[in-house]
């Protein structure tokens, strides 16, 4: 499959990172355009007029937005290379269910912890733990055979989303002072995330710890300031 592929992304965006990982897993050659979110390129605004957000994948001039939609597009378009979604429709439904859960429930809950303090933050932390418990039970039920990696050691969509949601847990610990991934409470989730972040592809795509810590601290203080205003 030929054609020019450009990814408009941002170095610290987990959504952007998901698409990068998918492209790398598939071995697709692409150009990367770093967006300054305070000064978005004219192209980004043209390619994603609805949300004006990253990531946007542009394939032969045609833009696709929304990270999970982009990754399904990549899997359907580049049939060579490892599959990002399983072949079996029921397994695909399970992947879509859990990626939806991770995105809508767990990711949002973690985001709430970042944006709040005091009692509100305590409630948000509690919610993260509730969601992690559901995820732990879910893996036990859905993937009792072992790792959800669909090609042995190759990442699939679900692995990519788990990685982008929980891979930064050490950063969360440092900035927020909360430890989410307790190996005793969530053994399966913890071992899955630990295995994912060690993959060379993931390590390559992970920005330096201090840089992300700095940005997250900055974001958190901006949220708290505007909430207090």
């Amino acid at each position: 499959m030929a054609g020019r592929v450009v990814l408009h992304g941002m170095w610290a965006s987990p959504y952007s990172k998901r698409v990068e990982l998918a492209l790398k897993v598939k071995g697709i050659e692409y150009e990367y355009a770093e967006e300054d979110l305070k000064n978005k390129s004219e192209e980004l605004l043209r390619y994603n007029p609805v949300h004006k957000k990253v990531p946007v994948l542009v394939h032969d001039g045609k833009p696709i937005a929304e990270s999970l939609v982009i990754i399904e597009y990549i899997d359907e378009t580049w049939k060579e290379g490892p599959r990002l979604l399983p072949q079996d429709p029921y397994e695909r439904a399970k992947v879509r269910f859990w990626t939806g859960f991770l995105q809508q429930q767990l990711f949002e809950a973690i985001f709430a912890v970042i944006k709040t303090d005091g009692e509100a933050q305590e409630r948000a932390v509690k919610e993260v733990h509730e969601k992690l418990k559901v995820l732990e039970e879910g893996i036990k039920g859905s993937y009792s055979g072992g790792s959800p990696f669909i090609n042995g050691n190759s990442m699939g969509l679900l692995d990519i989303v788990v990685c982008s949601t929980l891979g930064a847990h050490k950063i969360h610990e440092e900035v927020l002072g909360v430890k989410f991934l307790d190996p005793e409470k969530y053994p399966r989730v913890t071992s899955w995330v630990t295995a994912l972040v060690e993959l060379p592809l993931v390590k390559e795509a992970t920005p330096p710890l201090e840089k992300v810590v700095g940005l997250l601290q900055f974001l958190r203080s901006s949220f708290l300031e505007s909430a207090a205003a």
């Binding site: 999970l68 029921y90 439904a93 879509r96």
Partner: protein
């Protein structure tokens, strides 16, 4: 072919999406009406993560989340296709489904809240309608899917129908025909389909049900 069961409720727009998809595809199924205040053991077993409807059970395999179910149905029963053939057009359809999924809960919040919370829900609901009106992929077409309805029509059809009831129950107007002429025309087209018209909940009954829910929610929040 294994049997298909759908656990749903008559008052849920999420339930109805799956029903529409199955009827369009001519999939025989058994419908199980769930009482949300007394959920069946089967439902809790099949959807332990959310304990919600709709749940499709195909043979012994449960599939949860309405749009995940619709994609599953599409893959197993390709007749009356709900997604385009080519990846790019599929990605466009999925983009709109995601937008509808992300923004439509604001519509429910309009009848579930009052005051500042309700104002925010109204603003967000109107924003969703504006985006669909301005950018929606149904320009010059009868439906989002062209001449036939597709996954986007299914995703938004339930939301749009319920919106009318939410307006009545909350006394707030959202779906103004002057502000959203294209969407109104689309709604007319959707409701003119016999299959859709025959598979909508009774309007009066739904109004009563949502009004009752609103009363409970609003009075309990004012007591806090």
């Amino acid at each position: 072919m294994d049997g298909v069961k759908l656990h749903g409720t008559w008052a849920s727009p999420y339930s109805i999406r799956v029903k529409w998809a199955m009827k369009l595809k001519g999939i025989p199924f058994q419908y199980i009406e769930e009482d949300l205040f007394n959920k069946s053991a089967l439902l809790l077993q099949h959807n332990p993560a959310h304990k919600k409807i709709p749940v499709l059970v195909h043979g012994l395999r449960p599939v949860c989340e309405s749009m995940v179910i619709v994609e599953y149905l599409e893959e197993i029963w390709p007749q009356y296709p709900l997604l385009p053939i080519y990846p790019y057009e599929r990605s466009v359809a999925r983009f709109w489904v995601k937008l509808i999924e992300d923004k439509s809960p604001n519509v429910w919040m309009v009848y579930r809240t009052v005051g500042e919370e309700q104002e925010k829900a109204m603003r967000d609901s109107l924003e969703m309608l504006s985006i669909l009106e301005e950018h929606g992929p149904n320009k010059g077409k009868k439906f989002f899917g062209g001449d036939n309805i597709n996954i986007v029509d299914i995703a938004f059809g339930g939301v749009a129908h319920w919106m009318g009831v939410v307006e009545e129950v909350s006394g707030r107007e959202m779906f103004d025909a002057e502000k959203f002429p294209r969407l109104h025309a689309w709604m007319g087209n959707i409701k003119s389909l016999q299959l859709i018209a025959e598979n909508l909940p009774d309007q009066g009954k739904l109004c009563q049900y949502l009004a009752c829910q609103r009363e409970k929610l609003v009075s309990s929040s004012s007591q806090n």
